[in-house]
Amino acid sequence: MERSSVRSMKACAIALLICAVLLMTSLSGCVQQNQTTIKNPTTYVRYDIGEPKTLDPAEAYDSASCDIVNNMYDRLVTYHGNDTLHIYPSLALNWTVASDQLTWTFHLRHDVLFSNGDPMNATDVKYSFNRVITVNSPDSSVAWILEQCMNLNSTTIIDPYTVQIKLTNTYGGFLALLAFSVASIVDMKTVEANGGIVANTDNEWMKENGVGTGPYQLDHWTHNSEVVLAKNLNYWGGWSGQHVDTVVVKSADEASTRILALENGDADFAYIPYGNLVDINNKTGLFTVQEPSYNVVLGLFDTVSSNKFMADKEVRRALSYAFNYQSAIDDAFNSYLYRLPGCIPKGMPYYNTQNNGTSVYNYNLAMADQILNQSGYLRDFNFKGTYYRFNNTAIRLWYNSGNAERQKMALSFQQALTDLGINSIVSTEGWPQYLNRMYHTNEWDFMFLGWMPDYNDPDDYIAPFVGSAANGGDTFHTGWANASVDSYINQGKYTVDPTARAAAYTAAFNIYINDPSMIFIGQETYTRGMRTWLHGYSYNPVLEYYYYDYYKA
């Protein structure tokens, strides 16, 4: 056999190996040096999960879409920094409201250009609002936000820089509504050139393109990968001062990828799951953003479950005592959770109407045991020497798959139920199946769910949570209904008098907390990982990201 061919092959392999090693060491050397300096100094990079569904303000409803829309477009009014309580001028320099609380007049800025150079004036404003209402996005139905108090006749052009809006009904949150992404001002000429307005149909062009007056314009969107925004040179706010020139929002499904990106400096900002915040805590160059949020975590009871005992409020009370709240806070959420006493989260008005903010239920198996025994649910079924209640019927605990926190709470709840002599099954399924179970079946007894605010008012919590289906509530199909609670909710909603509102919410609380349709577990802390070289960031739950404020140093 000829040896030379083999020998040369071997030589090739060795040469390749040496090359690889040399390349590695040389490259690692230069990268190590770069590590001390800021990566991509004029670019803001965020690694997040999920990606926008659309870039059209008339369709955007999910937070990823609204994020991009908020930065590409301006609205008449806006929020500043982390201030959620005050609304500031944006495209509107100032505004007046008539004494009837219905007629609002906005005076627009004169110097505003769209990113394509078109000037912005009152025509665009009227066009934008009427577009949202006419398109009435079939995919997201986000138009309901404007339709709460506006219709096609509401907006009137007084002069090119003055707009009058006449509301269909009084609405306290009107300005807040105008700060929402759906009220963004689009360029009439651009939209008309690209499909215009078709009633009840989303504009396909606007989904992936757009011309706005915002500080950034769309550079490119690679689906399932990244959205890149570049600075809008026509921006009326100007580019003096420190700003990032480019914004990159990446969608990365895998948590480890996001962590590594943050640690090696590719990412300036990243969504990190609670369980992984320990990885970035106390690391130089990294910072954990921690802010209170209005996101609440709930455990729902199906009061009309095929397991009949779930209809008994004593059973649900006992289960409320059997849930280990402290363990949920410490172990499932790594302490990034704040105990929630009732429907209304801390930070919102009327929080204190809920037993002064103190929880009624705490983890107390003895109490749960006592309630069940008193109600006649004794340990009656012998299975291998263990006595179970409910004739061994299992309570079905569900959570949606992939949610680590809920899985921990479910398995820990199951263990507590076993101690209490209640058999249970923990199951998980995908989100569409989970929703089907919740909304179309009674084959569940306990489910986890979260809720985020649409607007900053207790009514956005109490009505969907404990209002009856007949009263437009019961969003989670727990089947729970109480006429008195409904009337208190309506009182609270339509009264402007704070004391009366407080009284109504107190009364409602006292009823629903003793006949619980859900366990109020807690209120999540908003957490994100951030490089310390990123400046200008502040958390605003209503306007989560405003890149114009950011710079790296």
């Binding site: 480890s256 369980g275 798959s401 899985q407 479910a410 398995l411």
Partner: protein
């Protein structure tokens, strides 16, 4: 043949690994330091099944390996060593069930197609074409998503994706052997179809199949782990290696042991099956011997 096998170091390592797996699975209650409880529960279909449950001790979660917890604890405070030991039972069960059932299906269908040919063959081959044209992971994913999350369903999903390749393999074998002289001879003396199939064709075509089966036993574990990774694995709370890896992977930066030990367990078992399969192939295929 046996001495050839014995001489091959790699094959012996494979054999030892698999024997070790079997021993661990058989004597799990003696080896593990902690044990799950088994609870009988009713399923939605009204049948009962026994569920494996591990006690949660949040007070000792994510402890690094120590004498008390050889492989550390997971984020539920469960002893990873014990879970791996008990997980060997699950893994072995998954491997064997999937491979045996899909082999049986493959033998029956592939045998029929290969032996009788004609329309049966054509139809069956088109069906296998259809199944093979869908990437197995996506098909298994879809089936598993439809059935719901549990080990049994994962096994069913994998059987559905696995049988067509066996049917093809076995059909090819039967086609080749059908033309052999001893089969002709049996046919000429009037042996019945079933006799020819079971007495002549089956024993002669099974040898290459066994090699394939051994190699696939490992592949099954990898696919199961892949399904767990995407989020459709064993039901939560059970000790299944794939599930443990997929749950531990996000915590690898501060709890390396959580993902490492189940990962090594899978690696060694799959390695074992593959080494064994390779060894068997070398022994049964005289052409590769010198």
């Amino acid at each position: 043949m046996l001495h050839l096998f014995r001489r091959s170091l790699l094959s012996m390592i494979g054999l030892v690994l698999i024997l070790f797996l079997i021993i661990v699975a058989l004597f799990a209650p003696l080896i593990a330091s902690e044990h799950p409880s088994y609870v009988e529960v009713q399923t939605e279909q009204g049948t009962t099944r026994v569920e494996e449950r591990w006690e949660i001790h949040f007070d000792r979660k994510l402890q690094s390996p120590s004498l008390q917890h050889l492989f550390g604890t997971d984020d539920y405070g469960r002893d990873i060593f014990s879970m791996i030991v008990y997980g060997s039972q699950t893994s072995l069960r998954i491997c064997l069930m999937v491979v045996i059932i899909s082999t049986l299906a493959g033998i029956i269908l592939g045998g029929l197609a290969g032996y009788f040919g004609g329309v049966i063959d054509e139809v069956l081959m088109r069906i296998t074409d259809v199944f093979l044209a869908i990437p197995y992971l996506i098909l298994a994913l879809a089936v598993a998503a439809a059935l719901g999350r549990s080990i049994d369903h994962i096994m069913e999903a994998m059987i559905i994706t696995w049988w067509p390749s066996y049917a093809r393999l076995f059909r090819g074998q039967v086609l080749a052997i059908r033309e052999q002289q001893y089969v002709e001879a049996a046919r000429s003396v009037g042996a019945s179809n079933s006799r020819i199939l079971f007495r002549h064709i089956l024993p002669n075509s099974i040898a290459p199949l066994i090699v394939e089966i051994t190699l696939d036993l490992g592949a099954v574990l990898l696919v199961a782990a892949g399904l767990s990774f995407i989020g459709l694995g064993a039901s939560p709370g059970t000790a299944e290696w794939g599930l443990m890896i997929s749950e531990g992977r996000t915590l690898m930066f501060h709890a390396w042991w959580y993902v490492t030990f189940p990962g090594l367990a899978i690696l060694f078992v799959v390695l074992g099956f593959n080494l064994l399969g390779d060894g068997l192939r070398d022994v049964t295929d005289p052409k590769l011997r010198r």
